[in-house]
Amino acid sequence: MQVTGYVKALEKVDFSISERETIGIVGESGCGKSTLGKTLVKIHEPTAGSIIYFDPNGKSYDITNGLTKEVRSTFRKDVQMIFQNPYDSLDPRMTIRDTILEPIQTHKLFKNLKDQDRYVRELLSKVGLDPDYGKRYPHEFSGGQRQRIAIARSISVNPRLLICDEPTSALDVSVQSQIINLLKQIQREHNMAFIFISHNLDVVYHMSDRILVMYLGNIVESAPSRAIFDNPTHPYTQALMSAIPNWNPRERKLGTVKLEGEPPSPINPPTGCPFHPRCEFRMDICARAKPEPTEISSGHFCACHLRDLTIDSSRSAG
């Protein structure tokens, strides 16, 4: 096999998450948002940087280079993930009951088999399914029902952090809202922290406290979710917003999208600012230097040279 280059899916991503918080991650395909999710649950290894995990007693562990024996079991119980494709995320050869039991048995939550059975039935009804469905196999269920099963599996060990990787994008529109509501309800009841990954800005807004906008493996803007919508600052965020159809046939907006071209290949990323080849405001410096994130208002960070300029100029003016 010939190596043409190594894909740097994640350039530089800094953020932290605390309990009961939801961080939304939004971006287009290939921006590295799924890689980020998989790196956080430790099924991909990062090449650099660090991931720090705080166990329930507040003790901190550096888990960047793999899980040590000491922390493995608590981490695997504490951090769970829901995947994008419900047709792919359940083992076709296992019954629903066995699927949900897998994490429970792996972490030996119950000694008594009767309690264990009762718990599985409880979980099924909690996610809105008939408890008797446990005997059946995945192929008997629709996409929405399968996603409910996947949710039941991931919350069975009572994780503190749930990573949702595009949990609704493979579902029919009329079913999407059901799953979003269910996730919200579960978060309220269990005080979980969520990392919600999606390409759909509306859905991310609905779920999240903070939103990170990613482009080619970089976070280009991060802010509380309202600030992102009310005051999108990075040119990419602005373009992304303008591309969402607004469901009003009297106000068509397709012609107003100013974003030209397509995201470059992550194997061969552009120099400087990753967005500069498509940016309508690009300047000379953009191709040369990568912009650092700047705080433009409380908790609102944006990585764009344009911002530096306005701040610099306002400083020099003042």
């Binding site: 993930m81 994008q84 792919d88 076709p92 192929h139």
Partner: protein, 363 residues
């Protein structure tokens, strides 16, 4: 998986050749299992009066054209007055009727208990008349009986050998695909190395290791081992490919996030999901095993007398002059062909049913 099973069954039974092959195989296995009982003679008993005996001609009517049921005639031995060669002529005055459930030569049924009851045959002693469906060999042994008994080796070598090679192949393939990296490269290069050897010399080289002093059952298992030591490589490749694609499936990722151990991941998720492919691969690799055993025995390095197999039976038909004089010695070859074809038909039908997109290559 109820509906999948149903779909696979339906699709299989639509495949006419596959169903035909399956029926043929069932019949062949029944013949082979009850070989001693079905065969009219003990496969190892020699009959000096019938050395190279021709296949018997079965008649149904007497000299006046009256229907008297299937029968053969006694043989009269005489010498050619000029060449002094022994010749047999039919003594049409002595009718020997063919009957069901006759007492004949003694055998041990499935090696368990003694019996002398045969499904069919003649009541006359074998020095005067023999019912030879496929003729006799140079020791006067009934080829038909020998084909049935020899089928035991040939038809089970494939099954056992495949079982063993699929077992080894599945484990090695799953490890190679699952761990990837250095382990994978090592295993793959090793397989390539082994596969780049020509097959027959490799079989022979391995078969030579089996000591000639071993009893025939040991030799039999020796041959099975030799065959599966080579056969597992194809299986390992297929399973590696499947595991490579399966391990990126979200249900496997989900299990990893849960913290399921690698061992359980392989045995609970990966291998069960390759099961249907394993069945197809197994069926398709049986013919190779059958041919392999035949080749080894044909070349004289496999099963030894008094045990027999189709390949060993064919060994007698090695020379052209032999073939010209006694063409019936080729009959075991037809059995090999029919068995191999039937397994191929069944394998193809199974593959079409389980794997309509042909992800598994023929081995």
């Amino acid at each position: 998986m109820e509906s999948t099973k149903k779909r696979v069954m339906q699709s299989f039974f639509k495949h006419r050749l596959g169903v035909f092959g399956l029926i043929v195989l069932i019949i062949m296995y029944l013949l082979v299992i009850f070989a001693d009982f079905i065969a009219p003679y003990n496969f190892a008993t020699t009959h000096t009066n019938f050395v190279y005996g021709k296949p018997s001609k079965i008649s149904y009517r007497d000299r006046d054209g009256k229907w008297i049921g299937p029968h053969i005639y006694e043989m009269k031995k005489s010498r050619d007055p000029i060449t002094y060669q022994v010749i047999f002529t039919q003594d049409t005055s002595k009718i020997v009727p063919i009957k069901f459930f006759v007492r004949g030569e003694e055998y041990k049924f499935l090696g368990l208990f003694k019996s002398d009851l045969h499904l069919f045959g003649v009541e006359q002693t074998p020095d005067r008349a023999m019912l030879l469906l496929f003729g006799a060999d140079r020791f006067g042994r009934d080829v038909f009986s020998r084909v049935l008994v020899g089928g035991r080796v040939s038809m089970t070598v494939g099954l056992l050998g495949t079982f063993l090679s699929v077992f080894i192949g599945a484990i090695v393939g799953a490890l190679s695909g699952f761990y990837g990296g250095k382990i994978d490269i090592l295993i793959q290069r090793f397989i390539e190395l082994l596969r780049s050897f020509p097959r027959i010399p490799l079989w022979l080289a391995l078969a030579v290791i089996v000591p000639p002093s071993w009893p025939s059952t040991w030799v039999y298992f020796g041959i099975v081992t030799v065959l599966s030591l080579i056969g597992w490589m194809g299986v390992a490749r297929v399973i590696r490919g499947l595991v490579l694609s399966l391990k990126e499936k979200e249900f496997v990722l989900a299990a990893r996030v849960i913290g399921v151990s690698d061992m359980k991941l392989v045995t609970k998720h990966l291998i069960p999901n390759t099961l249907s492919y394993l069945i197809v691969v197994s069926t398709l690799s049986i013919p190779g095993m059958i041919l392999g055993e035949s080749s080894i025995s044909f070349l004289g390095l496999g099963i030894k007398e008094p045990m027999t197999s189709w390949g060993l039976l064919l060994k007698q038909a090695q020379s052209l002059s032999e073939l010209e004089a006694h063409p019936w010695l080729m009959i075991p070859g037809i059995f090999i062909m029919v068995a191999v074809l039937s397994f191929n038909f069944v394998g193809d039908a199974l593959r079409d049913a389980v794997d309509p997109y042909r992800t598994v290559e023929k081995l």
